[in-house]
């Protein structure tokens, strides 16, 4: 196979799958979109094997309703993503403060009183929440999470924070 058909195959695959996947995830709002594709001879005899010839080219009448549906799907997906990542961030912060407070009880209230040498707090499932040695065995952010917290903001977070107001009018 030469380079040119390979490139053509790649581009048509990316165009088709990326347009189709997102609406499918949201319950199949629409299946096709022709915004970025021109009904030319190339896409009609597309080497993309699974679909019928020219399946990426919509009718003119279908274009408007499907386009708006697709826009709605995109918008709801972005909103969902934003909500999801905000929730993840909240969960992370609450988790870390949770284990810190248990460690405080062990260090200052139990061992700090001088009446006990070692102390621990465990959950009713048997997981250790805090011990004297300060090694949390459960409910502790894993090392990778700690590295993430100390590193600059993640790509998705920064994307959501900065692009949310910008993307909003774009997808209406």
């Amino acid at each position: 196979m030469t380079n040119v058909p390979l490139m053509r195959r790649y581009s048509s695959t990316i165009l088709c799958t990326s347009q189709v996947k997102i609406p499918l995830l949201l319950g199949g709002v629409c299946s096709r979109n022709g915004i970025y594709q021109k009904p030319n001879s190339e896409s009609k005899k597309s080497p993309y094997p699974s679909g019928p010839p020219g399946h990426c080219v919509p009718n003119e009448t279908m274009l408007t309703s499907e386009t708006t549906n697709y826009r709605k799907a995109q918008l709801s997906l972005i909103l969902l993503l934003c909500a999801f990542f905000e929730r993840q961030q909240k969960l992370q912060t609450t988790n870390s403060s949770h284990s810190m407070s248990w460690q405080t009880y062990v260090d200052s209230n139990l061992v700090g009183s001088g009446a006990v040498r070692k102390a621990a707090i465990i959950g009713l499932d048997g997981n250790t929440w805090a011990t004297t040695s300060g090694k949390y065995l459960a409910k502790l952010p894993s090392p990778s999470q700690v590295i993430k917290q100390n590193s600059p903001p993640k790509f998705y977070d920064s994307l959501c924070h900065f692009c949310h107001p910008l993307l909003f009018p774009l997808f209406l």
Partner: protein, 89 residues
């Protein structure tokens, strides 16, 4: 405090027959059971001992050694347990 020890200790608050027969294992040490009811389990090994009290969502464990008074240790752990039960933990 391993997970196995933890689950056995939590189960002992419901049914103390296991720790009465085999002893209470905390942090790799085996303690003889002094007292076991649905709120607190006390254990003793030589002049060391352990005080464990169950709250609503957690179990507090305190270990004292020969330089510390068992009564003081029990007092401290029970007080913290009372506080945690009071705030629904």
């Amino acid at each position: 405090m391993s997970k196995e020890e933890g689950t056995k200790l939590v189960a002992a608050f419901k049914d103390p027959s296991g720790i009465r027969a085999n002893g209470l294992h905390v942090g790799g040490t085996r303690y003889i059971t002094l007292k076991a009811d649905d709120r607190s389990v006390y254990g003793k090994q030589g002049s060391n001992g352990v005080v464990t009290v169950k709250t609503k969502q957690a179990v507090l464990i305190g270990v004292y050694d020969q330089n510390q008074q068992p009564g003081n240790a029990a007092n401290v752990v029970e007080k913290l347990a009372d506080y945690l039960i009071g705030v629904n933990y």
